[in-house]
Every structure is written in C-alpha cells, then in structure tokens.
C-alpha cells in the first residue's frame, strides 16, 4: 500500500513536522475493499461517540478526553503511516456517504469539525503553527502599543470566562470577527470595530473555522457527484445487490479488490467507474449512513395510522414526556409557538397522523384562540409544508432526541427535552404526573444531574411500562413504537389466557 505523506515543511526551520491531514485532496492510494468498509465503520464509531458526548452536554475538557479515547480505541495503528492512511481513507469514504442530504451533511460537518478541533489541541505548538501556515492565515500578533490600549478590555473578557490574563507574554491576534464565529457566539473575545482579539490559546478556533468552511464546500461538491448515482440506484431494483457488499465495487485485479479513493472524491468518478459497479456501491453507502444515525421514522410503518380521536388515548399511554408536555400545553393554551408545533407536529406525522387529520387536529386545538380563517392563512401552510406538500416539497423527518436535546427553547417555548430544559421542580412534578414513584423520580434526577438525558427518559419509560428497554431511547417515535408494542403484547396476553 502506498503511503500518504502528511509531513509538512515547517516555515521556520525547514524541518518536516508531522501534522494532521487536512483532507484537501484525496490521496492517490489504493485500498482493499474490506478496508474500505472497515475503516469507515471505525471512523463512524468515533464520530458517533463524539455526537453522543455533545448530546450529553459534555464540557470541553470532558470532550477532549473522550475524543482521545475514541481515537485510540478505533483508529490507532502501531505504524504511523498506516494510521494516517486509515484516517484519510475513512474520511473520504464517509464524505461520500454523508454528502447526500442537508441533514447528513450537517451532522458529518459538525462531527468532523469537532474531531479536528480536539485533535488539533493535542498537537505540539510547532505542529499547530505549521497547520496555521498551511491554512495561510495572514494574521500578525498585536503590537505592544496596541495591546496596552485594549489590555483592560482583554482582561475583562478573560475574567468573564473565569480566567486571568497572563499579561507578560500574552500574544493576541487581531482578526476580522467573521473568522472566529464560535468565539463571537460565546462572547469569548473582545470585539472592537469589526476585529476580534484572539488569544494564543484560542487560535484553534481560527483554524477550525477554515477547516469547517473548506469541508462544507467539499461536501456540496461531493454531493453533485452523488446526484448521478442516486438516479441509477432507483432504476435497478434487483434484490441481489443487497448481498454484494463484499462483491466487486471496482476493478478486480489479481484477485484483490481495489478501490481508488481518489476517484471517489473527484468530480469524474462516475465516468471512471463502470455502470454495473456503481449499483454495488449504493447499498454500502446507504447502509453506512443509516447504521449510525438510526432510522428516521419519516414513514409510519410499524404501528400504522392513527386518527384524531386516538390521540388523547395514546398521548396518555405512549407519548414520551416531551411530546406529552407539548400535547398538554396545546390543550391548555390552544396555542404553541413555532418550535413546539414543529416538534409535536412531525412526531405526530411519524406516529401515523395523516395530513388531513393533522390539519383537523391543529385547527380544533387552536380554535378557541385562532379563527378557522386565520388558521388557514397562518398555520395550514406550515403543516402542509411539514408533510412535503408546499415549498421545496421535502418530506420532513420527526426530530430525534439528539436534535431535541440540543434545541434552545426561549421565551414562550415549550419544546425541547424536559429532562434537559425543565427546572428540577417542574421536572419532578411532571414525572409524578406520569405516574413515576418517588424512587424512580430520584433515579431519573440522578441521571439528569449527570446530563444523561436519554437515559433519564429510558428510566421513565421502564417505570411507566413496567418493562425494560435495553436499547435505550434515541427517538421520540421509537419511544412511541416500543410503548405500543408492549401495550399490544399485554392485550394479546390477556386474550390468549
């Protein structure tokens, strides 16, 4: 196997420094078919671990350890060359997998960026500087005179974050604020007349911004390649190629399947790969992206349809707390703000509420406050939109736990994850209303304190249903389906005995 060079010449002393790959261009490497999938799976484990960590609201220091452990566990190789190869190959395979929809791209971009951020922090300062020059960041350190002028403000910012300014050797870069959006968003820099003063220990943000914007563009580009093969996938619906993961994707040479990642990642790959072989790739790619993101519950399949009159009953028996709360609120207030309408509305769609029923449901709930005419004007469009009947006609998928946990409900909002967004008092009261015993409430609160929101929800599920849920709760619609299954089996049990 060829070795991909990730050594860069450091600008200062012309000595080669080993750094992180920036995945600027696909390396001209060949890879065995088995590795193609294995490497991708290993990287996915890392990304999924990062995603879980973020979902639990882990602090930066905790994330740093988590990323180091995940990397060591899944990506390490005794030989540095091999490790770099695996890094690069797996990145490019997943790039292909995750370029397919906006949602997938967003997830991949955010996880890869997080991964890069923490890996950058592990680098030696020499390697960090080499990477900065790789990105051609043109910034100079703030002069002493200027530093004296803004010292008080810089100090104030440092103290607002609970740090102190190391005044003596403090190095700051003055950069356009656009270059460090995350520092701006967190108010972690002093900004004056469009320039942010970035401390040396914050330059990771500068680099990460560059990395992110480059990868974002690259993903869009990769997607335009992918466009072609989706069409082909649709028209060849033979069942056999599901089994063909181990079969040939590309050229068979000397009994070793080889794939050129380079071809995958460039615009021309479709023309270099034979038609037939493209069909084999589709299932692999498809399997890879659903394996870790889980099903999206956009199609109500397992439980079937429900109608408006069922909602009351199933809300009591089978809705997770987040949806129960929204449902109770819309009953009480005859209104929900946009975030709440989206979260509950898409959930109900996943549960099996048809568009006409959804319109009837919301209209009836809003009726005391919103006239039928105003409803048709202001709300109906959005509901039809969610069902893919308006606008760009995307059939929107119900929100996952991760999305709900990371949402930020504000004034007047009732959406979000109760385990994360409720005050302790309100959460306790809500759990009691769901019928949880005081012992269960304490257990749940314990999980909440450790920011294991999904585990807290799982405990609630188990307490309410008197039955275990080994897989854990990852999606409100999964909660619903699992609940319905348990209830159904109880009913069946009674009938048969």
């Amino acid at each position: 196997m060829e070795v991909f060079q990730s050594h860069r010449k450091s600008s200062s002393n012309n000595v080669s420094v080993s750094t992180l790959p920036l995945y600027r261009s696909a390396p001209p490497l060949e890879v065995r078919l088995e590795d193609f999938e294995l490497f991708a799976m290993d990287r996915l484990r890392v990304l999924k671990g990062i995603s879980d960590g973020l979902g639990r609201g882990k602090k930066p220091e905790e994330m740093e350890n988590l990323v180091a452990d995940l990397w060591k566990e899944n990506m390490r190789h005794p030989q540095a060359n091999e490790e770099t190869n695996k890094d690069v190959i797996s990145h490019f395979v997943l790039r292909l997998v995750y370029c397919r929809t906006e949602e997938l791209r967003k997830w991949f971009l955010s996880m890869e960026t997080t991964l890069f951020r923490y890996r950058f922090r592990f680098q030696s300062s020499e390697a960090q500087r080499a990477l900065m020059s790789e990105f051609k960041l043109p910034y100079k350190a703030v002069s002493n005179a200027e530093f004296e002028c803004v010292k008080d403000k810089l100090n104030q910012v440092a103290r607002s974050m609970g740090q102190t300014l190391a005044a003596v050797d403090a190095v700051f870069y003055k950069v356009p604020f656009e270059e460090v959006p995350e520092l701006v968003a967190g108010r972690r820099v002093f900004i004056y007349k469009g320039h942010a003063y970035v401390a040396m220990n914050q330059v990771v943000s500068l680099v990460v911004t560059q990395f992110r914007s480059y990868l974002s563009k690259a993903l869009i580009l990769t997607n335009s390649i992918e466009y072609v093969y989706k069409g082909i996938h649709k028209c060849t619906k033979t069942p056999c190629y599901r089994l063909s993961i181990k079969a040939l994707i590309f050229c068979k040479q000397d009994d070793v399947y080889q794939v050129s990642i380079c071809n995958l990642a460039c615009r021309k790959w479709t023309s270099t790969v034979r038609e037939q072989e493209k069909d084999r790739l589709a299932p692999i790619v498809e399997a890879l992206c659903t394996r870790y993101l889980g099903p999206d519950y956009s199609q109500p399949n397992e439980v079937g349809e429900i109608s408006v009159k069922d909602i009351d009953r199933i809300a009591k028996t089978s809705f997770p707390l987040c949806m129960r709360h929204l449902f109770e609120k819309v009953r009480e207030d005859h209104h929900l703000k946009h975030g709440g309408r989206m979260q509950l509305g898409l959930f109900l769609k996943g549960v099996g509420l048809k568009l006409d029923d959804a319109l009837a449901f919301w209209k009836a709930e809003f009726a005391p406050k919103v006239s039928a005419e105003r409803f048709d004007k202001e709300y109906a469009y959005n509901i039809r939109h969610n069902y893919g009947r308006e606008g760009k006609r995307t059939d929107y998928t119900p929100y996952s736990c991760q999305k709900i946990i990371s949402s930020a409900p504000g004034v007047g909002d009732h959406h979000g994850c109760p385990y994360r967004h409720f005050s302790e008092e309100n959460l306790r009261a809500a759990l009691v209303r769901m019928g949880a015993s005081s012992r269960v409430v304490e257990e749940v609160m314990d999980k909440v304190r450790n920011r294991h929101y999904q585990l807290a929800c799982t405990l609630t599920f188990e307490a309410v249903h008197g039955s275990s849920c080994d897989a854990g709760i990852n999606h409100p619609n999964q909660y619903f389906i699992d609940s319905q299954k348990i209830l159904q089996s109880k009913v069946d049990g009674i009938q048969f005995t």
Binding site: S160, G162, K193, Y227, V411, P418, H421, S423
Partner: protein, 452 residues
C-alpha cells in the same frame, strides 16, 4: 362599505377635500393603498437602496444585481407570491402599483434570477442559492409579555414601547462599536416592534454561521417556559459588551422607568416573580418578610417600587453575601426585565424574508417609517402617520398645482427625507467607493499579469 362606495368616497374627498379634511375614514383599504403606492411610496429610493450602486455606469457595476433580489408580495386576499424579481426601477414601481400588495417582503439576492429558478434547476447543478442578504434583526414586543403589565400580545402603549427604544440603543451601539458596521437602518414594524437592516457590504456577505454567531453574541436569555432561570450571566465579571449595555442603558432605564411604570415591586404577585430569581431562599424570605410587613406603612412619598428595589439591592450586594451568584443576581434581574429579546431565527438565515420599509401595516394602517437611533427616545409609535391621515393631507394639498413631489408635503415627507439623507446617501457613497476600489484592484492585478 363596498368597494364602489369607497371609490366614490375618495373621489368626493379629492374634489372638496379642503373643507372635509377629516372625512377619510380611519381604516385600511385597498383603494387608499393604491393611492399611497401611486403618490407617496418612495419607489425610486427603494430601488437605489437595493441596487447598492450597481445601477451606475461604472464598468465594474454588476448589472444583474438588483434583478437577482427576491421580492414577495402578499395581496389583498392573502395570496402570497414569492420569488418575484425586477430588472429596473420602473419594473418594480409598475408591479407594485399594479398588484397593490398589502405587504412587500424583501428576500436575499440569489445566485440567479429567482423568477427563473426553475429553468436553472433543470440543469441539475444546485445553482439557485442565496448569495447576499442584509443582516437583519426583528424585535417584537409580544416577546416581552412576561415583563410588562400594561399590555399583552400585539398591543403596545407608551409604557412598554421604551423597551423597544432601549433594544435599539443596545443593539445599535454594538453593531457600530463592536462589529464596525456603519450603514444601519431601523424601521418601525407598523404595529408591535422594530426591524433592523445592516447594509454594509461586509454584513450582506456574511454566511449563515457568521450571522448566527452575531445573534448569539447578543443572546443572554437562556430560559424557557418550564424553567425559571431566564438570564444566565456566568463568570466573575461581565463581558465588555454586556457591561457597557448594563451601565450605559439597562440599569438607568430599569430604575428610572421600568420599576415605577410597570409597578414591578408594588404588589405581592409581582414582587414574588422577582424574589423567585434570587437563588438563596433565605435572602428571598428576608425580603418577603419585610415587604409583607410594611404593606400598610407605605405612606412615604417615595415610590414603593424604588424603595423596595433599594432594599433588595442593599441585601443582595451587602458584604455579607459571599457567593458570586447572589451578588450577580441584581444584574440578572435587570437583564431579565430589560435586555433586548431578538427573534433569533430571522437573523440567523440568509433566506429569511423581512417586510420592506415604508409598507403600511394592514391592522394599524401605520406606515413602517425609519427610526433615528440617535433620537429613538423621541419616537412615538402612536403618532406615526397612518394611511388615512396621509390621504387627508394629500387632499388638503390637492388643489395646489405645483406638486412635483407630493410626498414631501405630507407628514411622510420627513421620514423619506430622513431615509435619504442619513441612510441612503452615505450608503451609496461607500458603495461607489467600494465598486471603484475593487475595480482598480482588478485592473492592477491584470496589469501585473500582463507585465509578466
């Protein structure tokens, strides 16, 4: 009144408008709007603004620029037409006059003409995408319902409007001093809030991520309806931006206006809401005890709200209180009641539509006029010209024949003049310079290339 009657009514009034100056009924009407668009709406200024200098003769002007901008119209019967585009000032003006939209929304500038987006879509490449858009903010008084007792929902009065005024002060100062923007337009939304358009080239080209970062920079509100922690100000000191907003705007406003006007501490129900925000129960109950006792003893001339606020401050900030959370609590209360609440989603995305300035709000009949951020204290939403008032003024002046510019003589004239002189002219000057300098840079580049 049917449409015919309305039309007749207007005809009558034009004839003998001088005598019957008050005869225009105070309401919103498509026919009035037609006259407004015909005689008063500043079509040419809107075109100038949104062209950003590209309507000039300079070789570096991008002639397609204005034509790639999305306009959306909401017509009388709530028909909503998106993705309209216009290639010239005349096209824009004619379309507005002909369709007479109840509302005009301005969207982003796209990569291609939005009206022809389907044609481009067929080419397969994803080329139809927003490329430029003003950085916009939307602040709505309905989001302050938990801190105002005078009105709820869409209602607004002079007691609660100052919340909008200080929002303008806080955001405007930060946009200029922190972010370095210069071309900022504040507009009354016609009913219950204000809009802000940041029009610097740099602002128009921000990515969604950068927009979100600015919105988050402004965000201090972390609570939701199910958690009473509304404001979170961690750290031993405030970030310079928050500290400046607090000392220069919020603190003074809260103590001088908000406390007495909204009677925040006068009744048990209201002061309980503030006591709830104190993290230490014993401190809260000490204050509660004092206030319950002196219920009857409030004979003193001093405003009870101010007296109690001073008590609260002295208890919370006394040397006895060691924990940072308790001392910070005074600031948190002030921020909770006064700090601007932005509709974040509007600012975060390039392709969010926002109502155009100088539209007329169908519910109030008031014109969305610009607000001068330097004199925003003087802005009074209850005297903003209404559609019917403007028509009366037109009628009154109607008999004079020297009318070149009818708008100037109505009370809208001031607003249009303000828009032109303080916003549009400096903006166009800097756009021209921008176009010029980028052209010269390119010229220099190609010269260098040639000399190779």
């Amino acid at each position: 009144m049917t449409r015919e009657e309305a039309e007749n009514g207007i005809d009558d009034m034009v004839i003998d408008g001088a005598q019957q100056a008050n005869a225009v009924p105070d309401r919103f009407d498509a026919n009035y709007l037609r006259i407004y668009y015909g005689k008063l709406f500043p079509h040419a200024d809107m075109f100038k603004w949104l062209s950003y200098g590209h309507d000039g003769k300079h070789p570096a002007c991008d002639k397609s620029y204005f034509g790639r901008r999305e306009f959306s119209f909401t017509l009388e019967n709530d028909i909503y037409i998106r993705f309209q585009s216009f290639n010239s000032a005349i096209e824009l003006e004619n379309s507005i006059k002909e369709k007479c939209p109840f509302k005009i929304d301005i969207g982003p500038v796209y990569s291609v003409d939005p009206a022809k987006r389907h044609a481009y879509a067929q080419s397969g490449d994803n080329v139809f995408t927003p490329v430029e858009r003003e950085l916009v903010f939307d602040i709505d008084i309905t989001d302050y319902d938990d801190v105002r007792y005078c009105c709820t929902g869409a209602d607004v009065c002079l007691q609660c409007w100052p919340l909008m005024t200080i929002a303008i002060k806080v955001i405007d100062t930060a946009l200029r001093d922190d972010f370095g923007f210069n071309h900022i337009l504040w507009v009354y939304s016609g009913r219950r809030g204000v809009h802000c358009w940041v029009c610097d080239g740099k602002a128009r080209r921000l990515t969604n991520e950068q927009r979100a970062a600015i919105a988050d920079y402004f965000r201090v509100y972390k609570g939701n309806e199910n958690s009473h922690k509304k404001i979170s100000l961690p750290g031993p000191v405030l970030h310079p931006f928050l500290a400046r907003s607090y000392t220069e705007v919020l603190k003074g406003f809260f103590e001088a206006k908000m406390l007495p006007n909204q009677n925040l501490l006068s009744s048990e129900e209201r002061y309980e809401k503030i006591l709830e925000m104190i993290p230490d129960a014993s401190v809260a109950s000490e204050l509660r005890g004092r206030w319950q006792e002196n219920k009857r003893a409030s004979m003193s001339k001093d405003d009870i709200n101010l007296v109690r606020w001073d008590q609260l401050k002295s208890v919370l900030q006394s040397g006895k209180q060691k924990t940072q959370g308790i001392r910070r609590c005074v600031e948190e209360i002030v921020f909770s009641f006064t700090y601007p609440r932005l509709d974040m989603e509007v600012s975060k995305h390039m392709n969010h539509l926002l109502k155009a300035p100088f539209c007329v709000h169908p519910k109030t009949g008031r014109v969305c006029v610009p607000i001068d951020p330097n004199n925003c204290d003087e802005f009074d939403p209850t005297i903003v010209p209404t559609l019917s008032q403007l028509l009366e003024e037109l009628n009154r002046e109607g008999l004079r024949q020297d009318a070149d510019n009818e708008g100037d003589r109505t009370s809208l004239g001031e607003s249009v003049k303000f828009f032109r002189t303080t916003f549009l002219q400096p903006l166009l000057k800097s756009c021209k310079e921008g176009i010029e300098s980028s052209y010269n840079a390119k010229l220099q580049q190609s010269k260098n290339a040639l000399s190779w």
